[in-house]
Symmetry: C2
Subunit: 137 residues, 2 copies
DNA sequence: GCTTGCCCTAGAGTTCACTTCATAGTTTAT
DNA sequence: ATAAACTATGAAGTGAACTCTAGGGCAAGC
């Protein structure tokens, strides 16, 4: 299979696929060269790219991905280590979610204030005063 | 107040402050030049940086920030427009949270599978088969 | 008057995950 | 035979928000 065909199948551009190869995410199980130097992809390449997409979908950077794929290839991690890794990832994402929650808190307070400002400017003033005591701005 | 003092007060680096100025986030209400060309910051600069931080804390890019600050300076938006904007921001953040939720879903499934693999490999096999039907990988 | 430690500028470097470009060889269709 | 469409390479560009460097000018203490 040539590069454009693979790209179409996977919903990627040929540039991205070559980029992944350069980054060491694909090896000779996935790509070989024809006599004219064109890349020829095996079926395994499809599985590989699916795996790459899966790792990306759980928030992995390409650097992490590379490591994970190497471990995957060499079977070099125990189930327990993998479980640990998953839990670490989960915590990482929980933290990011919490950051967003804080943003939402702030936005909700702003919204409350602005709404009050339309309906009852006096109470809005009060709210502003209470808000000032104990936080920034 | 000189730049290092302001940086210390605000928990920023002098580079960041100069960068903000270059980006048009600070103007002559906040910085003036001394005879030796050193920047001299007013108290308003502190408020300005606090405001910048607040906008950042609710997930604004510097580009958005710039716009928001201009509106803030010129008082050019009605309360209703601001409420709309806040709601838009909220939706944006909710969407990002949902992406993280999807990641967590996937991670939880992986975790479940890996845990089962330790305790009951046969059931884990089953799970894998069921998982395959209806999704990728 | 010398060192240390601020301050200035313009511009380059960083990270990430691509994307685009310039240039050139190969294959396919007409 | 020639044009269109594909392939290859290495290198540069993108965007966001800084961060750092080089090369220089002031300032304060001894």
């Amino acid at each position: 299979m040539k590069i454009q065909e693979l790209a179409d199948k996977m919903g990627l551009t040929i540039h991205t696929i070559r980029f992944y190869e350069k980054e060491g995410l694909l090896d000779n199980r996935h790509v070989r060269r024809e006599s004219n130097n064109y890349r020829n992809y095996s079926e395994e390449a499809i599985e590989r790219l699916k795996l790459i997409k899966k790792f990306q979908s759980i928030g992995c950077s390409l650097a992490e991905l590379k490591e994970a794929l190497q471990d995957h290839d060499t079977n070099s991690r125990t189930n327990l280590q993998i479980i640990d890794w998953i839990q670490g990832k989960k915590e990482e994402i929980e933290r990011k979610k919490q950051e967003y929650d804080q943003m939402l808190d702030t936005l909700n307070k702003m919204l409350e204030y602005r709404t009050l400002l339309m309906n009852d400017p006096q109470k809005a003033e009060e709210m502003l005063r209470n808000w000032h005591t104990g936080s920034s701005d």
